[in-house]
Every structure is written in C-alpha cells, then in structure tokens.
C-alpha cells in the first residue's frame, strides 16, 4: 500500500528503495537542484530537513539527504546525493530559501562546500574554532580539545547612512537567559536591520549521539533543549523504537500524550507570563508564573521530575498514572484552566497591554513561508501546521483536536495561539485520560538490536513547533548519526525579519513572543 502511495511522487527514471513510510532514491549530483526545486514547488510536500552523513569508511562517500514530508499521508520522500571524491555539492539555497542554514550547517560541520550558496560565513562554530576541522566527520577526535584559533571576526550585515548606527547586544544579557548575540542597525529608535548570531551554547550534541551508549543517548536527547525535554526524548525514542522493531504499549502512547501536553502547558503559561511581564503588565506576569509553577508541580508529583526527565524510555514510558492520580490530575487541570481563563479575561480588558501587543513584530506570510517557519509563529499567521495532526504519533490519531490559529502574525497573534493551545492541551489530556487502556507501560526488550543501514525520521510537535529527529544506523546496527532539528533552527532565521520597522524597546517583547531555544539551535 505504502509502496504505491510513494511511487507517484518519485520522478520518472529513478529507482526508489521503500522502507516503512520513507522512499529513498539516489539522484546524480547534476540533477539534484532540479529535483529538489520541483518537490519544493509542490504544495503537498514540506521540506523537513537537509542532512548529511559521513560514510567514507563503508562506502567511500559523503551523502546528503533532502528529506521531504507529505502531511496526512505521513510519508517521506528522500532524494539523496553521493559525494565521492569531492567535497563540493550544488547549493539549492538560491532556489529554496529554507535550505539556507541547513547547507551552512553542513558546510561547518562536515566541511562540504555548497557551491553557489550566497552566504559563506561559518554557522555556529566561532572564530576560536580552527579552520579545516569538521566535528561531524567520523575521523574527528571527539574527546580531544582542538587548539584555540584566532580567526577573523564575523562579518555582520550592515547598513550605512547618516544617523544609522549599530548596537551590539549580548551574548551576555542582563537577565538570566541563554547567550546569543544580536546586532541591530538602527536609525534613532527604529530598527532597520537585525541579525542574530548564535552558537554560544554549542556542545557537540550530535557528535555525542554517535558515541554514547544507547541508554545515555535517551538522556542526552532530554538535554537538547531543557524546556522541551519530553518532546525531544519522545522524538528520539520513537525513532529508536521503529529501528528496533519495538512497539510501545498502547497505554504508554496515551501517557505520552498526557506528559507532552503537560510540558506544553507549563511552557505556554511561562511564555504568556513573560510576554505580559515584558510590557510591564505585572499582574499577568505574576499569575502566568504561578500557573506555570502549579503545572510543573503536577509534573513533579506524577513523575518525580518538574521537567519530565527520565520519563521516556525506549519502548514506552517509565511512569504510570494510577486511576486516583488521574482523578486528581483532572481536578487540578479544571482548576488551572478556570484560573487561566480569568487571568486572560482580565488581561484582555487592559487597553495598555493590548496596545503593546497588537501590530508589534509582524512576521509576513511571505517571510514565514520562505524560511519554513514552524510552530506557534506559523499558526499565528493562520497557516495550519501541526505535526500532531499531519504526522500523528503516540495516541494523537485517536484524539480529537483542532489546530489553534490566529491571524495577523504579530505578537498578539502569537499570544492568542498560545492561549488557545492551553485550552486544547487541557482538552487533549482529558480525552487521553478518558480513553486510556489498561496494560503495560513499557515493552521490556532485553537486548535491543537495531535494523542495519536504515534511516528513520521521527517528528514530534513540541510546544515551540515541529521537532525532527533523523536517526540512521550503520552496517553493524549501531546508531551512526542523529540529526536534530529543533523548531528554533528555522524560526531564528525568521526572527530577524520581524524586527525591522519596530522600535528597539519593543524587541525584547518580539523576541519573547517567539521564545526560541538557543540550546536547541546550537546543539
């Protein structure tokens, strides 16, 4: 069945290897740009990620995979190219803007040069990292410390003219937040150009995935972005479960929904609080923080971890929710949802708050599409994108759900999407607890053996947006490569475009309305 579904998407003349819900086919280097461009034009195809792998040892080549997803059908079409005896590949970035940073990342970490890419600056790795040292190549000594290099400074984009000046902000900020550098070009208070430079929290996550033992890999996936511990570990565990041929018990699929929505709830409460606090609306800030704390305490009581760490395991979850706890959870949720509605109705009566949120930080539909923006900012433009519906996982296919949308693409729209999602999350938890079957929560697998030379794409809708994990194995059945795409990776590139036209004092508010992860981006 899957085979026929997939076949219609494969251009004529290519032989596809179909495995599970993915179709792989090799494309000669000269034709890849054309193939990828034709896919990108199709409305039903979404570029999910462009990833590379170093297979010089086994196949004497690098490979670059262009992974496209087909929503609803939940299929993946994966053209790939083979780089034999060359370290250059044709760039698709001039045709598909979304590919821009994927290719820069491949250039920085694999040392493969995207020919024709308009931006040759190194992504993420800073000036203190030596040239010609590429951490994701297999021969890179991961446990040694490279010599300190003194490279040339990073060439920020610049606007020149009378009265235009630059403001460097960060990487260390006045509050306790992650590090990142922002370069503003402003005329008076108005932002003309905004560029973010990240990479300060680069910690070699993808390399560590290749070296750590399997159980530690699960723990590592929880640390990709601390606030999305559960979603990231879920994406990773799902991929490994498919590779190992393990089916997580039905009960665990429902529990995963409950935990994932709890994570979404506490983060959305936090974001809503901070958006209000950044306008100086202290009432909303205080109550949002209170609701977040209540939700995290629920997580702590149910699992022993406020961030839901140690809950996901390969083959299910480790923490069950007993029936009296379920009743307690429902009561608490009802209480929290009522509280939340009251707070929001008071906030929406505050003229001064709404005035700050509306028309601030507008992201245009065109920019969002070009950058492949995912998650909350995309839904704030009225564009339905939600992996829980388009690529259903865990027990989401069995639950009724609407995609929370808002119009306008401004700070207020992103605020509204979060408010709506709080209610859908509460509703999803309720539904999941009503329909949860009895049974085991974890498939004990004994020795886990993985399929050989396979690549699995696992998608999870984290609270920021779509999280993609690509897990591939080598000819020994060992995990050879894990590529992690946090939603922040795409959304950071678009954030710079929401700034211009606004005034500098409004930027923190705009930034907060996106609330992107530095850690998840820098890996």
């Amino acid at each position: 069945m899957a085979l026929n579904n997939v076949k219609k998407y494969i251009p004529q003349g290519y032989n596809a290897r179909v495995s599970g819900n993915a179709a792989f086919f090799e494309v000669p280097m000269g034709e890849i740009v054309q193939v990828v461009l034709s896919f990108a034009k199709l409305e039903q195809m979404q570029l999910k990620i462009i990833t590379a792998s170093d297979e010089r040892k086994e196949q004497r080549c690098f490979k670059i995979f262009y992974i496209f997803g087909i929503p609803k059908e939940h299929l993946f079409i994966i053209p790939f190219i083979r780089l034999e005896g060359t370290e250059e590949f044709p760039s698709v970035a001039p045709g598909i803007h979304e590919a821009w940073n994927y290719e820069r990342k491949i250039a920085a970490f694999f040392g493969l040069k995207p020919v024709g890419h308009p931006d040759s600056r190194r992504l993420m790795l800073h000036e203190n990292w030596p040239d010609n040292l590429y951490p994701l190549r297999k021969d890179f000594p991961w446990n040694s410390r490279p010599a300190h290099a003194n490279g040339k400074g990073y060439a920020f984009e610049k606007i020149e003219g009378e009265g235009v000046y630059e403001i460097p902000v960060g990487p260390i900020h006045a509050g306790i937040i992650e590090p990142g550098h922002f370069r503003f070009n402003v005329a008076g208070e108005e932002i003309l150009l905004l560029e973010a430079r990240l990479g300060y929290t680069h910690k070699g996550t993808e390399k560590l995935f290749e070296t750590l033992p399997l159980q530690d890999k699960v723990r590592l996936s929880e640390k990709i972005s601390g606030d999305s511990s559960f979603s990231h570990s879920l994406a990773f565990c799902q991929a490994v479960e498919i590779l190992a041929g393990i089916k997580a018990p039905d009960r665990s699929a429902f529990l995963r929904v409950v935990y994932a929505e709890l994570e979404r709830l506490s983060n959305h409460f936090g974001d809503i609080a901070f958006i209000m606090l950044d306008t100086g609306f202290n009432f909303g800030g205080a109550h949002g923080a209170r609701l977040r704390e209540m939700t995290m305490r629920i997580a702590d009581r149910l699992t022993g971890s406020r961030f839901l760490r140690g809950v996901n395991a390969i083959g299910g979850v480790t923490k069950d929710i007993a029936s009296q706890e379920q009743e307690w959870l429902l009561r608490e949720l009802k209480h929290i949802e009522k509280d939340f509605s009251e707070v929001i109705s008071i906030a929406q009566e505050s003229e001064s708050l709404l005035n700050r949120l509306k028309k601030t930080g507008v992201l245009s539909q065109e920019t969002a599409l070009a950058h492949g923006v995912v998650g909350v900012p995309r839904r704030a433009l009225g564009m339905p994108i939600d992996a829980r519906i388009q690529y259903p996982y865990a027990a989401y296919a069995d639950l009724d759900k609407e995609i929370a949308l808002a119009e306008g693409g401004d700070v207020y729209a992103r605020f509204l999407v979060r408010v709506k999602e709080v209610h859908t999350s509460c509703n999803l938890i309720k539904q999941a607890l009503e329909r949860i079957p009895q049974g085991k929560i974890l498939t004990e697998g004994g020795n886990i053996s993985l399929q050989k030379e396979e690549m699995i794409i696992s998608i999870v809708e984290g609270w920021r947006g779509e999280i993609v994990h690509v897990v591939s194995t080598d000819s020994h059945g060992q995990i050879a490569r894990v590529d992690v795409r946090d939603p922040s990776f795409l959304n950071w590139a678009a954030l710079g475009h929401a700034g211009p036209g606004n005034i500098v004092p409004d930027f923190p508010l705009i930034n907060k309305s996106f609330n992107l992860s530095y850690s998840g981006n820098d890996l």
Binding site: H173, M276, T279, G280, N282, S352, N355, R356, P505, F507
Partner: protein, 312 residues
C-alpha cells in the same frame, strides 16, 4: 539658629526616608502580585551593601563618569533643601524658587545623561537619548503645573505657594484649575522619576531601559549614590506634590507639637502617593516609547488650561 537646625532636619528627612519609600512601593507591588516581597527596609540594606563593594570603572571613562554620581546626588540634596516638607519656613529664600528648583534638578539630569554616554556603551547612549527626549518634554508640564499655583499664590517661591495654598481658602472655582494642574504635575512626576508608564524600574531588559540604562556601567559606591539619588528624586517629587497641592497639616507655628503633626501628615501623604504609584504600576502595561510624548503633551496641556482658568 533654630531656623538652621530645623532647616537641616527638614533637609535630611528626604535622603533618610527616600529608600523606605522605594521599599514600600516594591512591597505593595509584590503584594498585589500575590508575592511576599522583600522587606520594606531592603533598599537600605542594598545601599549599605553597595557602599561596601569595590567598583569597576571602564578604562575609557573620563572624569565625567567618576564625578557625575556626586553631582547627581548633590543636586537632589540641593533640591530637597528648597522644598517645603513639614514646616513653612524660609519663605523668602531664593533657593526655593520654582525656576531654581527645576534648574537644580535639571543639572542632575544633565550629568546623569552625560555619564550614561561617557563610557561609550550602546545602552548608556540609548538611555541618555531617551532620558533627554522625555525630560525635555516633561519639563514643560512640570513648570506650567507649578506656575499655575504660582499665579494663584502670586509668588514663585515654593514655601510661599504652600503657605498660600494652606492658609487662604480659595474660591470653589479654583479647585478645578488646581485639580488640572495636579494632573499635569503627576504625569510629570512619573516621567521625571522613571516610573510607569514611562519606564520600568524593575526591568532586566536592557533594550527597554531608560533610567537604568544610564547607570548600567556603575558599580559599588557610585552605584549606591546613583540609586540613592533616584530614590531622593522620587521622594522630592512626592513631597513637593504633597506640600503644594495638599498642604494639610503643614506646620506654621514652629512648635514641637506642630512639627510633630507636620511630620505625621507628611508621612501619611507620602504613603498615599506610594500607594498610588504602586497600584498604577500593578494595573497597567508600560506605554510604547513613541506614545510617551503624547502623554507628556497631555500633562502640558492640563497645566496650560489650569493657568488659563486662573488668569481668566
């Protein structure tokens, strides 16, 4: 002699109690957010702590940066010396003239802005440019709101105004201009003392700061002086508002009982002002920067209308 002692006591009241005001406002705000909040004496402890800390001064800093905290702090003391607090004395002194009072405060603001730009950091420059935009516009409202009272009292001496306001019973018709002038004054107060909706004294967001951005480079003892000076400025404006617009309980007799009553009345009035500011800051969001001039224009217009009503 008694005059001089009283004058010194009156002068010291401002810096002595100004950190307490800041503490009270923070406490009320915390309570309104369902938080316990720090003790109302915390600002004193903070000042004490900062006074015992070493300083880091940028190597690019000039004498302006080193010197400014003393000028800024000194300016608040000089201004404090010229305003009626608990008793009406030295009504003939020239330092309590409206123009002199506003001028002395402007000297402090001027040096504060210079110090912000001195080290060449982007945020300091930001703060200074914003502060100048706002204080240039706020000055009009402040000046004219006090002038409205000056027309009524027929003197520009602040003590004289307070005395006139307290002693003579104005016609009911003049309540309206006084009310309007107070509206103008209160908006100018919020702007001058870096409170909502102009500035957020509690923010950690360097890009949104006004006052805090200017003192971002300060540390240790000089930071303590800067913090103390801004607390003083808040106290001065609240005291001025309390004494000239609501001169109930101000002492004329220079007797012990009268002065005690004067201090009590002063304390109560300042507490009411603190509550008003705290409630305002808890219930609204900060305005967008470019809407601030509109608000300051309202302050100016209210004051001008008040003057118009008084003259007519």
């Amino acid at each position: 002699m008694a005059y001089i002692i009283l004058w010194i006591i009156q002068l010291l009241l401002i810096p002595l109690f100004s950190p307490l005001c800041v503490g009270i406002i923070r406490k009320i705000k915390a309570r309104m957010q369902n938080r316990q909040g720090a003790s109302i004496f915390q600002p004193y402890k903070d000042l004490w702590k900062l006074l015992h800390k070493d300083e880091v001064i940028s190597q690019d800093a000039s004498w302006v940066f080193r010197f400014a905290p003393f000028v800024v702090f000194g300016a608040t003391l000089a201004a404090a010396a010229g305003i009626p607090t608990v008793t009406i004395l030295m009504a003939q002194s020239f330092t309590s003239d409206i123009i002199v009072f506003i001028g002395v405060l402007a000297v402090g603001t001027f040096f504060l802005a210079l110090a912000g730009m001195d080290t060449g950091s982007a945020f300091g420059g930001f703060g200074s440019s914003r502060e100048m935009t706002i204080s240039a516009l706020a000055e009009g409202g402040l000046m004219f709101s006090l002038l409205a009272l000056a027309f009524l009292a027929e003197t520009t001496n602040l003590f004289g105004i307070a005395e006139a306001m307290a002693s003579s019973v104005f016609a009911l018709a003049s309540l309206l201009p006084i009310g309007l002038a107070f509206g103008g004054f209160f908006i100018a107060l919020l702007a001058e003392t870096a409170r909502f909706p102009f500035d957020n004294p509690a923010t950690h967001l360097e890009l949104t700061m006004i006052h805090e951005a200017m003192i971002l480079e300060y540390s240790g003892k000089r930071l303590a002086l800067m913090e103390w000076a801004s607390a003083n400025k808040l106290m001065i404006f609240m005291t001025l508002g309390a004494s000239v617009f609501f001169p109930f309980g101000i002492d004329f007799s220079l007797s012990a009982v009268g002065i005690t009553m004067g201090m009590l009345a002063w304390g109560v009035k300042i507490f009411v002002f603190c509550c008003a500011i705290a409630i305002l800051e808890s219930s609204m969001a900060k305005l967008r920067f470019f809407r601030l001039p509109d608000l300051l224009l309202i302050s100016f217009i209210l004051s001008v209308v008040a003057i118009g009503l008084i003259i007519a």
